[in-house]
Amino acid sequence: MAPLVAPLACLGGCTALSHGFLNPQGPVAGHERDLFFTVSIVLLFVAGPVLLLTPLFAWHYRLSNRSDAYRPKWNFSWWVEGLIWIPPAGIVIGLAVLLWHWTQIDDPYRRLPGAAPVEVQAIALDWKWVFVYTDLGVASVDRLTIPAGRPVHIKLTSGTVMQSMLIPQLAGQIYAMGGMTTELNIQAHRPGRFRGENTQYNGAGFQQQKFDVVAVSPADYDRWAAAARSGKRTLYAQTWRRLSARSIITHPVEFAHITPNLFEHVVAATGGMTHSPQKAAR
C-alpha cells in the first residue's frame, strides 16, 4: 500500500486521502500515521520477495525452457526451511514489540499530555450525535467545537444501538453502547474543520450520521462558549424525546440549557450490564 498511497497523499488539495488519517491534524492520528508507514515499510520486505520470486520462478522454469536443470524429486532442504521460517518469525517478533508499545501509547482511554482536557460527553442517537460540554453546561448536536492545541476527553454512550465514533484526521474510533461508557481522547493541532462519523451501521439514516469537528483558536473557543451559554434553546425532557426518535437532522443545533446529568440519565435508562431496580420494577 505505501508506494501506492504515499504519492497520492502528497498531491494534497482535493484528493480523497486528505480527508483521512494520512493527513493527520492531531497528535494521535499523527502518531498512528507514523506507525502505518513504519509497518508498511517492514511489510514491503515481506511482500517483495513473493512478488518478485513468483513470476521469476514461474517464467524461468517454464516447460518450454529446456536449458534448466530439472529436479522432479527435489522436495526438501534445511537451508530453504530456515529461510522461510526464521526471517518471517523474526519480523513478526519485531512487529510484536512495536505493536505492544504502540497499543499502550495509543490506547483511546489514555489521557493526552498537556493542559487540562476539555470534558465532553457524547451520546449516540439514531442518527445523530449529541455532545454535552460538562464544563460549560451546554450541548450541541452534530457539531463538536473544540479548542485547537488542547486535549479533549470524550466519554461516550448510546441512547440506542451500538455505534462507533471516528474522526479520522484526529484519532481512531471507539464504540458507544447503551448502558456503558467508553472513552476517547482527541486533540487538534490547529484550527480547522474535520469530519466525524458513526461507522457502525444502525439503520436507514446511517449514511447521514456525520458531524463536523470544528477546532478553533482558544480565544475563539471562549467566544463560542460564551455565545453558546447565552443561547435560548433548551434541552429538557420534551426536546429530548423528539431528539432521540429515529430521525435525521439537517443542521447542527446548540442548546444553552440542558437537563443536569443528561449523560448519566441516558446511561441508566439503557442499562446494559447492570440495572437500577426502579427500571426493572416497571
Binding site: T274, H275, S276, P277, A280
Partner: protein, 208 residues
C-alpha cells in the same frame, strides 16, 4: 488402522449383521466428534452464564433461587442412571437374558424421567417467585443453560424408548448394538455436563 481390541466396552458384534467391527468403530468415533461439538455449545452457555451471574438487575439472585437439596438429589439420580446404563451395556455385551437388559434400561429411563420431573418442579417453583427468563440477563442465561441440558435428557429418554422398540423388532443386531452404545455415550456425557452445572450453578449459587 484396525485394532483387534475395541475401545468401547459393550460392543460385541460377533458375526451379527452386515457391519464389521471397523465400521462400528467409525460410527462411534463419529458420534464422539458430535459430542465434542455439542460440548462446545454447553461450554459457551457456561461462559455466558459466568458473565451474567451479576446481571440480576434487582431481581432474583442465585442465592435467593437455588435450592441445594433438590439439586443434590437430581445429581444423585443422574449419576445413578449413568451407572444403570453402564450395567445395561454389559448385559448387552455378554448377551445376558433380554429381561436383564430391559430391566436395566427401564431403570435408567425411570431415573431420567424422575430427574426431568424434579427439574420441571424446580422451574415451576422459580416461576412462582417471578423468577422467569424474561426477568433479567442472569435468569435468561440460567434457563438457557439448564433448560438445554433438560432438553438433552428428554431427547435421550425418547431415544431410549425408540431403542427398546428396536430391540423388540430386530433383537440385538449390529445396528441396534451400535446405537445403544451411542446412546450410552450420550447419556454418560449428559451426566458429566450435569456435574458442571451442579458445581458452577447450584453449588456456586449457594456459597457464602
Amino acid at each position: 488402522m484396525s485394532e483387534p481390541e475395541l475401545a468401547h466396552a459393550g460392543l460385541n458384534l460377533g458375526d451379527t449383521g452386515a457391519l464389521t467391527q471397523d465400521q462400528a468403530e467409525n460410527a462411534i468415533f463419529g458420534f464422539w466428534i458430535f459430542l465434542m461439538s455439542d460440548a462446545v455449545i454447553f461450554a459457551l452457555l457456561f461462559a455466558t452464564y459466568g458473565t451474567m451471574i451479576g446481571s440480576t438487575v434487582g431481581g432474583p439472585t442465585p442465592a435467593s433461587e437455588f435450592k441445594l437439596l433438590p439439586a443434590f438429589v437430581e445429581t444423585l439420580l443422574l449419576l445413578t442412571s449413568s451407572a444403570t446404563f453402564g450395567r445395561a451395556t454389559i448385559a448387552m455385551k455378554y448377551d445376558e437374558p433380554r429381561g436383564v437388559l430391559f430391566g436395566w434400561l427401564g431403570a435408567t429411563l425411570g431415573l431420567g424421567l424422575i430427574f426431568l420431573a424434579l427439574e420441571a418442579n424446580d422451574f415451576a417453583t422459580m416461576f412462582a417467585h417471578d423468577a422467569y427468563p424474561m426477568r433479567s440477563g442472569f435468569l435468561s442465561s440460567f434457563f438457557a443453560l439448564v433448560g438445554l441440558h433438560g432438553l438433552h435428557v428428554a431427547v435421550a429418554c425418547f431415544w431410549l424408548v425408540v431403542m427398546v422398540g428396536q430391540v423388540c423388532a430386530y433383537g440385538l443386531d449390529a445396528r441396534v448394538r451400535i446405537n445403544l452404545l451411542r446412546l450410552g455415550l450420550f447419556w454418560h456425557l449428559l451426566d458429566i455436563v450435569w456435574i458442571a452445572i451442579f458445581s458452577v450453578v447450584y453449588l456456586q449459587g449457594n456459597i457464602g
